[in-house]
């Protein structure tokens, strides 16, 4: 069996090499930087754990963390549910489904900046699309990104719009569910809902797990559109936006790197937890 072990090791070797050469060194550098006061341009001054201590006293840190956590908790389940639903709806090979698949996936192909620009208009309080439609029904729409209470919903709308991003993964998984299972269930008299609940979803759990982990990472690392759009009352000040500004507007790279490591720890913790629950709900052969 040792032979199999060695074989396995050989297969992952390319990644391992890349890990050491391309990843480990920068990460070690980043670890060191987080212990310094560095303005990028000048020399780094070692300050030990000062950055980390400062973090907990910083109002902006707490605010940005709160904004991000709140978003993640709401957006991740929302995106998964929406994406799954979309996938199930377009999975069958009926006429025209092909076009729907492309349409629902399209939001994911646009770069973050373009999305932000377009949504800036869509969410415009005076003449944007959403408020325009609401006005048609005689409802006065909110100020969206200009109203602190409506910033989070604005970003959630953008999240749902982009939910089709995981469509391909779900479609690929759906295609692999043997038709026989459905047929057998049909014969046993199961209706659509039962089929979805007892066949589709359980067999999709590996892909759902994948999207859950990636979704958590993505939600906590949300940056590009938030950086362009912001939001009233610092409600659009996501963690990564805060980090980026600390690094490149205030030239406090040491502090920003410490922030990065804290984010890293949070995401890692959540992933470990999710991974630990894997055996309870994820199906595998």
């Amino acid at each position: 069996m040792k032979k199999r072990q060695r074989a396995g090791f050989c297969f992952i070797l390319p990644w391992l090499i890349g890990l050491i050469v391309f990843t480990a060194i920068p990460m070690l550098a980043a670890a060191y930087i987080s212990l310094t006061d560095w303005d990028i341009v000048g020399n780094a001054k070692f300050v030990g754990l000062d950055n980390f201590i400062y973090v907990f006293r910083s109002e902006d840190f707490i605010k940005s963390l709160w904004v991000t956590v709140r978003y993640a908790v709401l957006a991740v389940p929302l995106i998964i549910a929406t994406s799954l639903t979309m996938a199930v709806m377009v999975s069958k090979n009926y006429k025209g489904m092909r076009i729907f698949r492309v349409i629902y996936y399209m939001p994911a192909i646009v770069s973050g900046v373009a999305v932000a620009i377009v949504f800036k208009w869509i969410l415009d309080p005076s003449y944007g699309l959403i408020n325009g439609v609401l006005a048609f029904f005689h409802i006065k729409g909110p100020d969206w990104l200009y109203d602190p209470n409506w910033v989070l919903p604005s970003y959630l709308i953008m999240a749902i719009w982009g939910a089709g991003g995981s469509l391909l993964t779900y479609l690929a998984a759906l295609k692999d569910i043997p038709q026989d299972l459905y047929d057998a269930a049909m014969i046993d008299g199961a209706n659509t809902w039962k089929k979805v609940k007892y066949i589709t979803i359980p067999l999709m759990t590996p892909i759902i797990f994948y999207n859950l982990v990636l979704g958590i990472i993505a939600a906590f690392r949300k940056f590009t559109d938030a950086y362009v759009l912001g939001g009233a009352g610092k409600e659009g000040n996501f963690y990564m936006v805060y980090l980026y500004e600390e690094a490149f507007s205030h030239y406090r790279m040491g502090y920003a790197t410490a922030l990065a490591w804290i984010l890293f720890a949070i995401i890692l913790l959540l992933t470990i937890i999710v991974n630990w629950t894997k055996k309870y709900w994820v199906y595998s052969e």
Binding site: F11, A30, M106, V118, M186, Y210
Partner: protein
């Protein structure tokens, strides 16, 4: 073929109609931003921020496209991006599949720990490792080059490895078991059985890899200096200036042009998602 048609009919007329209606409504929402982009790209400058919003340009003009092409050589930029993307896809897709195979089917010491490390590499924001990484490449004389953008691809990509591993784990062991019994070598099993079965997944990550390159602004910004080497995203960035105004019309025109290759690719890759139907199953 016949079977699915029969089942289709069983879904019921009203059900089908309801499905199509919902999907169409949803599609409209999905497409609206794109429609706005296209519409704006054909609008005269005065028309772009008019009130109330015009969906259909009052006067259709190709000026924005002409201007865009004058400002940036978009075709060349696209070619440059493709030059980066192709080796990157080859590297990332094949190596990721290989590595994923190792994680999925072999139980070696430290496997779970290493996989956790793999996941962990996705969690540290790129912005803080960017400068140390750049410093190394720069020291090697490779700034203003595509090499830093392409070379790491040959060690796989963490999220693709993760995905392929998940995918491989859903493939029933029965298939390989037959092959092992016949004494087949690992590599052969890999590309005779796993690769063909994983076609939809491989197409998916190829598409992602391409999109990643197509849409990567920061990485390309840092490592590319010369204008001849500019990629699509750098070209798009040329339409808004730090101290000047944003040229909305040409920007939308350029953005639309930049979308065409990806949409084309998406349409083309479509058929691979229809092929992935597994043979009835060797349940036994």
């Amino acid at each position: 073929m016949k079977k699915s048609k029969k089942l289709g009919k069983r879904m019921g007329r009203s059900r089908m109609i309801a499905l199509y209606v919902v999907l169409t409504l949803g599609s409209v929402m999905m497409l609206l931003p794109f429609i706005w982009m296209v519409s704006t790209s054909f609008k005269v400058e005065n028309d772009i921020f008019s009130i109330p919003i015009n969906w259909i340009p009052r006067k259709i003009t190709f000026d924005n496209y002409i201007k865009a092409l004058k400002v940036v050589p978009i075709a060349k930029n696209m070619l440059n991006t493709v030059i980066i993307a192709v080796p990157k896809i080859l590297g990332e897709v094949f190596v990721s599949a290989l590595v994923a195979f190792g994680f999925a089917r072999f139980e070696f010491k430290g496997r779970n720990l290493l996989f956790m490390i793999l996941l962990a590499t996705m969690m540290l924001p790129y912005e803080v490792t960017m400068i140390p990484t750049f410093m190394i490449w720069s020291h090697l004389g490779l700034s203003d080059s595509y090499v830093p953008l392409v070379l790491p691809a040959f060690c796989g990509s963490a999220s693709f490895i993760f995905f392929m591993r998940m995918y491989f784990e859903t493939i029933p062991k029965d298939y390989e078991e037959a092959a092992w019994l016949d004494g087949a070598k690992n590599l052969k099993v890999f590309y005779m059985i796993f690769i063909p079965m994983a076609k939809p997944a491989l197409v998916t990550i190829s598409l992602w890899s391409f999109m990643g390159t197509w849409n990567d602004l920061l990485g390309q910004l840092i490592y590319i200096d010369s204008q001849e080497k500019y990629t699509v995203q750098l070209a798009l960035a040329s339409f808004s200036s730090m101290t000047g105004e944003t040229l909305w019309g040409p920007l939308m025109a350029a953005s639309c042009m930049a979308l065409i290759p990806i949409i084309a690719l998406l349409l083309y890759a479509q058929k691979y998602f229809m092929e992935g139907i597994k043979l009835g199953g060797i349940k036994g």
